[in-house]
């Protein structure tokens, strides 16, 4: 039973990874690419690691997979946030179809 749950989790995770990378290629500017790829790939990889934990059980590989999932869940949003802030500060323009830029408005008001 745990094997079936694990394989199901790994399948969903791999599909999330694939869709995130398709978004990384298809979307128009860096901010769209960043939000699509980071969210999908973080969730997908965490689901793969949780599936490995379900299959392997509490053992030497399962505990390491759980540790790695917690680490990725903590650090991936931090890296994406720092990167988007750096891109905005470096002056990367938004896509033409973007309608609002709150960060630039906040800088203008200060």
């Amino acid at each position: 039973m745990t094997d079936i749950i694990g394989v199901l989790l790994i399948t969903i995770g791999v599909l999330f990874d694939l869709f995130g990378c398709i978004g990384l290629v298809r979307l128009p500017d860096i901010y769209n690419r960043l939000q699509a790829a980071t969210k999908c790939v973080t969730l997908g990889t965490c689901m793969i690691l949780l599936g490995v934990l379900f299959i392997a059980g509490i053992g030497s590989s399962g505990i390491r997979a759980l540790l790695c999932a917690i680490f990725i869940l903590l650090t991936s949003p931090v890296a994406a946030h720092a990167l988007s802030r750096a891109a905005h500060r470096a002056g990367i323009k938004l896509w033409d179809g973007s309608v609002v830029d709150r960060y630039a408005e906040k800088d203008r008001n200060d």
């Binding site: 599909l15 990874d17 990378c21 990384l24 860096i30 973080t42």
Partner: protein
């Protein structure tokens, strides 16, 4: 632990992950600006952690997970360092 040496599913999962990695490599090669390339490098590192997890599942060896943990840590540190480097203004202005 279930060893899946005789099943075809782990090969399909690994092929899908490799295809996703090639999409990331396309973005690294093509990306118009430096932050695009940095995002693609970060995503490629996270994908490879998943690849190491699937290798752990298929082979039953637990040291592949060590490679995954190390890769996640180095990818995080590298992305933060590149973001800090990119945040400075250009040399022109």
């Amino acid at each position: 632990m279930m060893y899946m040496m005789d099943s075809v599913w782990p090969s399909i999962f690994m092929l899908i992950l490799l295809f996703s990695g090639f999409l990331c490599l396309y973005r690294i090669a093509r990306g118009p600006t430096a932050p695009d390339r940095t995002v693609a490098i970060d995503i490629l590192g996270t994908l490879m952690v998943g690849f190491c997890a699937i290798l752990t599942w298929v082979t039953g060896k637990d040291y592949y997970m060590n490679i995954g943990i190390t890769w996640a840590l180095l990818s995080f540190i590298g992305t933060i360092a590149l973001a800090k480097y990119l945040e400075g203004r250009d040399f022109d202005d």
